[in-house]
Amino acid sequence: MNAPGGSLLAAENLHKAYGPTMALAGAEFSIHPGEVVAVMGPSGSGKSTLLHCLAGIVTPDSGSIMYDGRELATMSDARRSELRRSEFGFVFQFGQLVPELTCVENVALPLRLNGTARKQAERTALGWMERLEVDDLARKRPGEVSGGQGQRVAVARSLVTSPRVVFADEPTGALDSLNGERVMELLTEAARSASTAVVLVTHEARVAAYSDREIVVRDGKSRDMERVV
């Protein structure tokens, strides 16, 4: 591993442009196993793009992203997809649950994509739903549950494969502070107990306070706030 200090996922000098818009201009990042790192910054600063690059959803124009000793930036799309399927988990702000599937089917989906049999996958899914206190919603569809409940279902889904990193992009963005904090509490607790690292993109300081460390992105450049002092 050539990332700083035994980090699980580390990026250096990332550049990414969408047309004329410079989303990342030399951003850096690193996270250790089990660590919760908040990525903050004003809207449009490039924090979501940073997350997309780190998760292998988007390839950067230049720079390197090392995950567990492997270079992500040059990996094939199929390989990155497989990585996302098996070692990463995702929570987005909204609109991520398949409306036709029941909640437990939604949570079981990543396992099913990895080839787990339906019964087995749903049993595991139910276990995670219990931990996130939404097991009573198992047979409901996403349209029938509240926003906070839906996010907890999404968190359960992000953890169901016991990933090594969970990427959360404004996971509380559509929730009130009470629901938002509950989601954050459950997410960080579950992640810590499974020593899953969490990359948490948020613009709310109180959400970021659930992290161990904070990185601020401004104009496509990142700043690790630990090294400020």
Partner: protein, 780 residues
Amino acid sequence: MSPRQSARDLGLGVRFAFAGGREGWIRAVLTAVGVGLGVAVLLLTTAVPNALSVRHDREQARLDWPFGSEQPAEGDDTLLVANADTTFRDKDVRGRLVEPEGARAPLPPGLSEFPAEGEMVVSPALKKLLAADGSALLRERIPYRVVGTIQESGLVGSQELAYYSGATGMATYAEGGGEATRLKEFGNPNPSKEETDPVLLLLVLVVIIVLLMPVAVFIAAAVRFGGERRDRRLAALRLIGADGRMTRRIAAGEAMAGALLGLVLGTVFFLVGRQVAGSVEVMGISVWPSYVDPSPALAALVVLAVPTAAVLVTLFALRGVVIEPLGVVRTAKPARRRLWWRLLMPLGGFAMLYPMIGQGRTDGDFNQYLVSGGVVLILVGITALLPWLVETVVSRLGSGGVAWQLAVRRLQLSSGTAARMVNGIAVAVAGAIALQMLFAGVDGAYTEPTGQDLTRAQMQVRVPDGAPLAATARKFADTKAVSKVTALWEGYLGDTSWHTENGPNLSAELTVGACPALREVAKLPSCKDGDMFVLDGDEYSADGPELNKPGRKLYVEPSGSGDTADVVWTVPRGITEAESVEVLTDYKRGGFLMTPSALPKAAEKLVSGQIYLSIDESVPDAYEYARNTAYQVDPLAQPMTWSATRQDTKFTTIRTGLLVGSACVLLLIGASLLVSQLEQLRERRKLLSSLVAFGTRRRTLGLSVLWQTAIPIALGLLLAMTVGLTLGAILLKMTDTPVGVDWASVLSMAGFGAAVVLLVTLLSLPPLLKLLRPDGLRTE
């Protein structure tokens, strides 16, 4: 509510239809294209009866038979016309030799001047064909100099091949029913109305309904494009104070905008289609653009009905929807679909058709209203039954892979949308299957078996009177691609004079030819010139042995040219009996066989020469050489090419119409399927992106899209086949034709429908893959 306010709401709706940036435009244009295509098909269909009747009128106006009892006497107002039709490759060429007998001779329609001998006036299509590279053989056959073009009024279609060429000395042919005809005027003085027999009318009626039903279903679907987004926009309007009625009026305005634009587009499509219709020829039928002219009443009906229907469908779709300021509420959970009332429609349809079962073509016309009503009800019944069927089946579908699960769950949640998408195809396929059955069944009655065996002789040429048979036969033998020539004289023998009032009681064929030629029609133990044989014949030609009484006087059938003297032949003793065989033709000859020297001299003029040719089809344009030789021998001789069956041309027209129409309709529906598919995908952009984010394979999502269409389509086709076969069986029973199922065509029709679906899925894959790109996550 003042009318002004209503108008303002409608206007607002129209504005919304085109506002909303690129998305809004695309949706409005798509709706308009859908409605436009529907309108164009409607207009074209309403023009079909007119086009057919114009064709018929033109045909009537150029008929060149002497109507009335007697041929007119030669005068300065008469014209001699002879039929010189020919066939080039598989295209028929209408040919006429004309010879004016005076200054006031009638000009054929479409001509301004008579061509002189060695000249001709041709149709534009024939002119093009003659000028084409591969047409040397045709130029050889019609070697006349082109001096003019037949105008539209003298042709029944833009692609018709026709010519008039000048001739002289035809007067002799005009006597006693010869090949030429003397005319004082062209055309039928009492033009017949286009006479269609009841079954034919039934077919036309069903074809039109079968084509129009899917179009109607399509229009109904087209105005619903973008329904969900519209509902959300209306909710936003409620938020700023619009009431429920206003939102409905605004929605109606939006639908109307699309429909009105569609009307304009439809007119354009129609005009384009009309021009295209003038430049194509399907199965020998072409029309001039001017024929394709819908009757004003029908056109007005279309113009009024389409926007009205669009608005009504929109309001109907909004019936179960309550638009609240904060969003759209669909009234409760939609009730489980019930079967009983959905069954009423098709059952009602069958009840309307039932009284006509067994009527056949002899018991007068079918009741058009009952037929139309019944068929419409049955086909509309499909659109009522299909949602129930899809819902029922889908709710029972079990587990499978992720792609299957995603598709099935989606269908379970919105089986109505899925069914609506498939309705059009189901109706089209059901109608087409019923029609195919009707055609296949009725075809038997209209397709005459011609009875020749293609393995023996492929062409028959009548040798003109006066031409020496042997020399003519040699000419053919020397012709390229002719592998065998059999020359026979043929005539008839009767037991009494042919000039009596009733003619002979018994008659038998007389066939004269050299021994090798005779061996083609009978098994002869031995044969030399001067021999005679009598054939056993079969049940239709068994009079030979009966007439074979030595000493009996038999009368040779006179030729048409007014001979009054009887030619008598006395049956000699000891004629050998022989067994006739089907070698040359598909029937067993009866009567007498004679070698040339056995034929009485007086009878020689009364038998006509027939030359049977076997053609080596491996030679390119094999038939054309023999045709050219035949033309050389006599331009009026019309060689007959034998094919297994010959179809009534009217049926060819209808079947062609059906094929073209079905293809258009299915493509139309395919387009609408594609549009709604893409719309659905766009609405799920965010979800699709997040699925990809956590590593869903593109293949899985693609497969789920495929299942999502394939399942309802499979159900739709199943229902379509059931209803189509039942409807077909009933229609056949109505025409009193035995019911038979042509499974190959049923399956191919279903396959055609399925192919459209596959095509749609394939076409929606690239946009799907594009949507699956991670950029989709960047929307907020």
